[in-house]
Symmetry: C2
Subunit: 472 residues, 2 copies
């Protein structure tokens, strides 16, 4: 493709995205394709000769778009937000056009220095002290793995430089029974067996019980175990529960255990100073992760990972052959797993410059107000229950069929009813939300945070929920 052809098609795709975003509300949120339907419409064999790009774009419209679930739709309330602000789209476009690797400073000085800059800007926006230094990973899952590996190496006095993990004492790790599955996965991949992962019970607000954490660590030490890492969560996936960092930090510090904070979605709220009491004690963390690609709009895949001990991080994530530092410059390949690194800082910089601290604060506040508004409607409506405290942008609700008290209907029937009305909402195409199990009960989970979502969309959702639940 020549630059002139690129210009012509590039204009068309810019137009396509502008129209797509402008007209998103008119699309069905969730794709209704059946499994396999998309592949059936596409050739099984690669083309021998190149195609005209018009044919490719026609197939994109005909086959791919109907198979898309629209995460940037104002009525997307499933999973977690994957908001991609248009400023970030432009940053990704330019980064892709440049096509550099940000593996070392020398590979492209601006790539490394802009990553240092935006990570430091974002640190300030979150109200973190300058003891934390940031790097971009692809996801909070990867960040949890990096934290677990650094914790393992600290606890075992760098076993990797000796005989390996088989030669160390049995390591134990701690997280809550509400932690995201990626935390357990990270601990398992780090070589800590499932028998030695402690899922600490949570209280009625779905927050880790620090007293039980302490007891468990002490029991493990008495049993000859080597407690290695605590992963606490700010904003659990299901209910947005908040683990109490002050007592957890005290326990971690007392027993020399690495404290990692998974603040994937809710961490973004800390740009608003009034939210920061939720993570009081954050300075006791050894590392923490906040997704920029969820609530804040930087677009997949872009997680800010902050760590205090950058020397350890670099030692663990490099090899002796290549040294920890090439020279006085930063080599981000020694701050994470991949050697080849995309220029993700550019889209972050575009986003932060275009929206400003204030823009992000206002968006986060708006979405929390939306969640509170929905909570208030649910609380005052007959037959509806709020199933978990609403702290950020996640609202969990349950509906008891009209005219019945919970004594007249089994819990399994209520679960089925809630599952069904959520399905009806999704099948309508007008909104998309998911359900989850809380304390063994099926509840609907509304996760707010697409950039385009205004109060009107929440009002429409509430009306749709009541209609689909047969509540009016």
């Amino acid at each position: 493709m020549t630059p002139e052809q690129f210009r012509t098609i590039g204009y068309r795709l810019v137009d396509w995205i502008a129209e797509y975003r402008a007209n998103l509300p008119s699309r069905c949120v969730m794709s209704n394709e059946r499994p396999g339907a998309i592949r059936e419409k596409l050739a099984s064999f690669p083309p021998y000769s190149g195609d005209e790009f018009d044919a490719v774009l026609a197939d994109f419209e005909r086959v791919i778009v109907p198979g898309i679930t629209h995460w940037n739709h104002p009525s997307f309330f499933a999973s977690a937000p994957s908001s991609t602000s248009l400023a970030a789209v432009l940053g990704e476009l330019l980064a892709s056009g440049l096509g550099v690797s940000c593996t070392t400073w020398h590979a492209s000085p601006a790539g490394t220095e802009l990553e240092e800059l935006v990570m430091d800007w974002f640190r300030q926006m979150l109200g973190l002290s300058d003891a934390f230094h940031g790097v971009i990973h692809d996801s909070s899952s990867t960040a949890a793995l990096v934290a677990a590996l650094c914790a393992r190496e600290r606890a075992t006095d760098d076993q990797r430089l000796g005989a390996g993990l088989h030669a160390s004492s049995p390591l134990t790790a701690y997280t809550s029974d509400q932690a995201h599955g990626c935390v357990e996965k990270a601990l398992l991949l780090a070589g800590i067996g499932r028998q030695h992962i402690r899922f600490i019970e949570t209280d009625e607000r779905y927050a880790m019980r620090a007293d039980l954490l302490r007891t468990r660590i002490e029991d493990d030490i008495r049993a000859g175990m080597l407690p290695c890492v605590v992963v606490a969560t700010i904003g659990t996936h299901d209910t947005a529960g908040v683990d109490p960092l002050v007592p957890i930090g005290r326990v971690a510090s007392r027993y020399g255990v690495w404290l990692h904070i998974d603040a994937a979605t809710a961490g973004a709220a800390m740009v608003a100073p009034e939210c920061r009491p939720h993570w009081t004690g954050i300075e006791s963390a050894d590392s923490l992760a906040v997704d920029l690609h969820r609530w804040l709009g930087a677009g997949m895949d872009c997680t800010a990972y902050y760590v205090r001990d950058t020397d350890r991080l670099q030692r663990v994530m490099s090899t002796s052959h290549h040294g920890t530092m090439d020279d006085e410059t930063t080599s981000y390949r020694h701050w994470g797993i991949p050697s080849d690194r995309r220029f993700r800082a550019l889209k972050c910089w575009f986003l932060l410059r275009e929206q400003g601290t204030n823009g992000l604060i206002e968006r986060v506040r708006r979405d929390i107000q939306h969640a509170k508004w929905l909570e208030a409607q649910v609380r005052k409506a007959d037959g509806w229950e709020v199933a978990a405290p609403v702290l950020f942008q996640t609202v969990c609700v349950r509906h008891i069929p009209h005219g019945l008290s919970s004594a007249e209907i089994t819990s399994a029937e209520i679960d089925q009813h809630n599952l069904r009305w959520v399905e009806r909402v999704n099948e309508s195409g007008k909104a998309y939300l998911t359900s989850t199990l809380i304390d063994g009960r099926r509840v609907a989970r509304i996760s707010i945070g697409a950039e385009a979502t205004e109060l009107s969309h929440i009002r429409d959702l509430w009306a749709l929920m009541q209609q689909c639940a047969g509540a009016r």
Copy 2:
């Protein structure tokens, strides 16, 4: 930013990229910024209010662009190619505009099915059997880690479900003394201590000696070790050496050791059938990785990882809580480390459709011919030596100062001379290459593979090399 503002600025950035690519030859390849200079020109504090995008773009031109080393420049010969074809830039733009996460099939059916499709197309293009199934990882480094983790779990009968790695027999791992640093890093992160990583010696063609591999595995088994994984390389980083897969595969199979193939750069050559003898025996691999973002032009960060035992991959990369399979559909989050996954298949599909198998074959052949042409010039020039066999797109050369034989000058002086002339090439801004150590001797390393590189650029490079080395 409104869709209309996006349209206006999007056009400008499309224009910028078109002009950037068209005029790349006139730019200095390597940035000459000094460390810290870029951050000094940018505000240390995040803006409170959003900026006009014009100001952001002005800063991009003024501060960022001078700090860019141009990996898509036709005279970029450093490291490995990071070619980003304009078709891939368009795919990244659209994927970013859609902003979906390809974590499960349900998250966006087209995201998963297109990834299945392009991974299968690319499998066919590489001449691999349909016993291999593909997934996109960010890099070959991550792919090596995933392979090491799966190998560890197979060797230890899934220790992660029990007491953890500390309870298993001591694991050993094998790679060559020419393997990329990311292989050792992956093995260390998997919990195999450095004392148990065997760097098997290579022959005069920088290929792993399978006889020594076998001896070493047998010695380790006798010593009570548990051999876990062999990582062989097709196209080592320094010299593009090729490990002999037939005897290595035989040894791995005999002792039940996982065989992973790192074919990060050179694997791309296998789209050309005449190159496939270089990886005869590939079907004995348990897993292999080829970067699509290097030689082939899919743009950072996009590695094809192929594996035979997808059940094991999914079991290792998921948790029991979440099951290995959600239903009959593919959940790629259970095929790798991150939960959130960008829609990378779209740019791959654009690239493969636009260029066709034939387009990629012709490009790979062209670049290999360029390497052979340069090799031929070096061989017939006085004072120049070819330092390693030229099999693909990498050429390693050494120059002995004019009029001297190597008896009249110390090896250290020759090393210094070669370091200096490479620096002079780079400082000229007309080309960018690196040097490396082979058998303890400093050599210049020319890695060919930018999409824009034609024979004229290789001719210019050769003239520049001779000039900078004082060879004419």
